[in-house]
Symmetry: C2
Subunit: 169 residues, 2 copies
DNA sequence: ATATATGTTTAGAACGTATTAAACGATGAT
DNA sequence: ATCATCGTTTAATACGTTCTAAACATATAT
């Protein structure tokens, strides 16, 4: 009895340490702390867990778990599992962390880089529709355009780099 | 007069749009919004800007600029420039965005992955020093260990991937 | 030495996000 | 049909972060 309690505690302690770890990783990338905790618990579990179990394990409210587990699903970091004979929802972690990470990176990068070309054409329009520019203003406009162009050029680079990494891993 | 004002406005509008853009990119990665704005202004400027100029352009307090410009320096996203005949500090943006991004990614990933091995040995110690485990507990311990091991294995992958991307870009 | 120009630090206010408790809705069991 | 079980939504609150204004420190010019 005594013995097993000690072990259970140190296991849970190890898990908690890991959950903290995931939290700091997520903090590095500005992701929600509670989402990280959820993932930590799921990642360390040997079986899918229900919303109730997660609520209890993390001592959080049902609502909080409900909202944030969906966030995890959005990233493909957890999935809903049907368990025979229970009408609860169960969740399990995606264990392939690099897959999650790359997906997130890909979608963010692609989306954001896609937005640049719109800004470029808008800027061009603004420049062309204006006449009587001083030299100073003309120079400013040119600089703005060049800087945006720089970013647009990243798009190709980014997608090849990401695809390459994808293949290697 | 009229004309130039219109142009100045649309240029500034284009710049502002870009600044917003940088903000959302930074939000994606959980970085401070004001830091992003600073970078946006510097990136779009054709010359280094002083703390005063930044304060004025962004209508923010001196203190805020002071603190957050150092944050930019930390990431290697801006550098202090000495301007002949002025005792102000001037700052200019690092224009190579992929460089900034990769640096940040590298240091975060390396640091965090380095932390895992410590957790592993700690867990091993906890398991070994405990006796009289039930089968259930033994299984749990094993799962924890395997999951941590998985992450440790990412370290090699990550560094090769990052180095590769480095070379390609 | 004094005044001026500049950057930094700090304590508190303003703000936004995360979290909860409770109401709600939906589904299946009795 | 009624009740019990789950998950979701919502309105209010707690919490942490960011931002400011003012005091401070430092260096330079007069």
């Amino acid at each position: 009895m005594e013995e097993t309690n000690i072990v259970e505690n140190s296991l849970e302690k190890a898990q908690n340490k890991f959950i903290n770890y995931i939290c700091s990783v997520c903090d590095d990338f500005g992701l929600n702390r509670f989402v990280a905790q959820l993932y930590g618990v799921l990642y360390m579990s040997d079986r899918p867990l229900s919303l109730d179990e997660l609520t209890e394990r993390l001592e959080a409210s049902k609502g909080n778990v409900s909202i944030n587990i969906r966030e995890l699903e959005k990233w493909g970091a957890a999935r809903k599992i049907w368990v025979k004979g229970s009408r609860k929802d169960y969740y399990e972690a995606e264990l392939d962390i690099k897959k999650i990470f790359l997906n997130k990176l890909k979608s963010s990068v692609q989306r954001r880089l896609g937005e640049v070309s719109g800004m470029l054409t808008e800027l061009d329009k603004a420049i062309q529709s204006a006449n009587g520019l001083t030299d100073e203003e003309r120079k400013m406009a040119k600089v703005c355009r060049d800087r945006l162009k720089r970013i647009e050029e990243l798009r190709g680079l980014a997608s090849t780099a990401l695809n390459l990494v994808d293949k290697i891993l």
